[in-house]
Amino acid sequence: MIDIHSTDTQRCERIRSNPKFLQLVSSRSRLAWSLSAAVLGTYYAFMLVVAFAPQWLHAPIAEHRMLTLGMPVGAAIIIFSWLLTGWYVYSANTRFDALGAAILEESK
């Protein structure tokens, strides 16, 4: 991308000094990293249970039932992490993009 390196340096400088940019960066990275931590945290907590307390997942969901707790828990992990994906995409596509567009506009 050699072509665009030189042209916009001053504009980048203006964007960096815009307080809105700092706000964008910090709110975006806070959300992205906390959601990543939530997904990985859930997954590794699940794996720890699998490794050290498998009987929890092997317990029937209610007395005299054949389905075990592990089934809904597993499905819930998949659905939960997908919903978090939706949360991030929604925030980014509305709030962050609007902020980003405003910053770009102001830097012209």
């Binding site: 050699i2 390196h5 940019f21 498998p54 592990g70 992490s81 596509n93």
Partner: protein
């Protein structure tokens, strides 16, 4: 494909007859009688995709159209295409077979294969789109030495693409022999020839649409199969669980975690390689450049994640349903011995289920979808490989960015033909070889070479050219050496008694090594060039965050 092979490797020895695609057990696979339903339906698919290719060829005017469909794919379409790249015939066949054999353990694996996607959404999708244009080398070379980094990145991409192409071609030949009753070389040549037509004439537009159609067929086929199977249990998971426990040899054990996690290090290494390997596969990364902007890039991973999650749940349902429907029916076992070897090998569970609940016609449909799947993945791979050659090596390094679009397109097409011929020849050459090690190698290299360099280029100010290249090569060599010393090569291919490196997957060791070397070498790099590279991060960061200067969609 990926999933299946990973699974198979992990489950080596656990699954009775390894796999359709990983090939070891396939040597024994009998050629089946011609399956006319399947061939007929596949023929319809080919005609449809060729029509699309013809249409796409008329849309493909510039290099940007060719490499990335001019950035004109919507988030939803791209989501389907990404999901299509990830959900393969092998996912359907391999995961359902794993659940069939192991119950809940198969489900645990499935979850592991899923969790990488949300992470890609949160941390990679928008930066990829904002900083890249045609290949992931665009991002890595953004502030580093263009020549060196592109040569390195093209090398990494091509290694991954070639290994993976061989695996796909061998899998295709075996699967088609099994499902369609065609000869192995015929099958390989058909796959190679169709791939060439799609890519050379239709570029990314055709490749994407082939992938979308296949993803829709696979989702529809899998869901229909699951609904038909569940209707036998009154659509009640409780009834299904009850009958599956009665039918399965392991009984109640299938309902909870069991034996498959006996080797946690191999499991951890495999899941690490899978999750981060995906984020280093050139044909997956390329998908992020086919959408018009970061907004659509994010949407596409959201849709892809939803489709993949849904499909995985469907596939697990199939595995449990098959325990009852297939597992108790002697006609699906060799010599009618229930619990013995399944007809056609351990991976045919979903196919048998299709026959059992949907008859020959539905079986034919699912076989055709499996074939279409391989074709779609192979096309994406060839396109990614060709763009590394033409865009990174030819246009940027060799011509110093002065190649005309025409020249670049011609080189891409020649490179595609070259890759196609290589893929066909190697596919035929490797027919009788155990190619399972290539799976470990593909994902090991993707996770330890492309991924660390890419993520550091996007997130770490301190990265320098030296650090990226030395670190990337350290990961590459480490992954390569560990795979050679692993049981899959050292014992199975080379015939030694014991493997020097006991695990099939190198990522747990080679990936951290790559990161470590990248950091240490970059920190020690005191050159003037390195200082400039660190300074340039500030502007790159602004662009990554705001999309300033990002490549835009072409006019049509």
């Amino acid at each position: 494909m990926t999933l299946l092979r990973k699974l198979l490797l992990a489950a080596a020895g656990l699954l009775p007859a390894s796999v359709v695609l990983a090939a070891p057990a396939l040597g024994a696979v009998e050629k089946q009688p011609l399956n006319l339903h399947a061939i007929g339906m596949f023929f319809v698919f080919v005609l449809g995709t060729l029509a699309i290719t013809w249409w796409a060829a008329r849309q493909t005017k510039s290099t940007s159209d060719f490499y990335t469909a001019g950035g004109g794919i919507t988030g939803f379409q791209n989501g389907l295409a990404i999901a299509g790249d990830y959900m393969s015939a092998a996912t359907l066949l391999g995961l359902s077979s794993l659940v069939f054999a192991k119950g809940y353990d198969g489900f645990i694996y499935t979850i592991g294969f899923f969790v990488g996607w949300p992470i890609i959404t949160f941390l990679m999708a928008e930066r990829l789109r904002n900083l890249g244009r045609y290949t992931f080398a665009d991002i890595v070379s953004y502030r580093l030495d263009q020549n060196k980094v592109r040569i390195f990145a093209a090398f990494g991409s091509l290694t991954v693409v070639c290994c993976y192409l061989i695996v796909q071609m061998v899998g295709a030949g075996q699967l088609i022999k099994l499902l369609f009753g065609l000869d192995y070389p015929v099958a390989v040549v058909i796959v190679g020839a169709l791939m060439l037509v799609y890519v050379i004439f239709g570029g990314m537009i055709a490749t994407t649409w082939v992938q979308i159609i296949k993803a829709v067929l696979l989702l529809a086929g899998g869901t229909t199969l699951a609904l038909m199977a569940m209707s036998q249990f009154g659509f009640s998971y409780e009834t299904l669980a009850d009958k599956a426990v009665q039918a399965h040899a392991s009984g109640w054990n299938i309902m909870g975690p069991g034996s498959m996690l006996a080797d946690p290090i191999n499991t951890a290494s495999m899941s690490l390689g899978l999750v981060f390997g995906i984020a280093g596969l050139p044909h997956i990364l390329m998908r992020f450049f086919t959408v018009p902007n970061a907004k659509e890039a994010r949407k596409s991973v959201f849709y892809a994640t939803g489709f993949i999650g849904f499909f995985f749940l469907v596939v697990c349902t199939l595995g449990f349903a098959a325990m009852v429907i297939i597992g108790t029916d002697p006609q699906y076992y060799v010599n009618g011995e229930i619990g013995g070897t399944l007809m056609g090998g351990g991976n045919m569970v979903a196919m048998h289920l299709a026959k059992a609940v949907g008859g020959n016609l539905f079986f034919g449909f699912l076989s055709a979808v499996a074939f279409a799947t391989i074709l779609a993945v192979v096309s994406g791979l060839a396109l990614a490989g060709a763009s590394a050659i033409s865009h990174d090596l030819y246009a940027t390094v060799f011509k110093k960015g002065k190649a005309s679009e025409k020249q670049e397109m011609r080189v891409t097409r020649m490179a595609t033909v070259g890759l196609g011929i290589i893929a066909i020849l190697l596919g035929i050459l490797f027919e009788k070889m155990n190619v399972a090690f290539l799976v470990g190698l593909t994902f090991g290299i993707a996770a330890s070479t492309n991924f660390p360099v890419l993520i550091m280029a996007m997130y770490w100010k301190g990265l320098t050219t030296k650090g990226a290249i030395i670190g990337g090569f350290a990961g590459l060599i480490c992954a390569l050496v560990l795979v050679i010393l692993s049981p899959a090569v050292w014992v199975t291919v080379l015939g030694h008694a014991h493997a020097i490196f006991p695990y099939d997957h190198p990522a747990l060791f080679s990936m951290p090594l790559a990161f470590l070397v990248i950091v240490v070498v970059s920190k020690l790099d005191r050159s003037v060039r390195a200082d400039k590279e660190r300074d340039a991060y500030a502007d790159q960061f602004v662009r990554a965050q705001t999309g300033l200067g990002a490549a835009s969609a072409s006019a049509h």
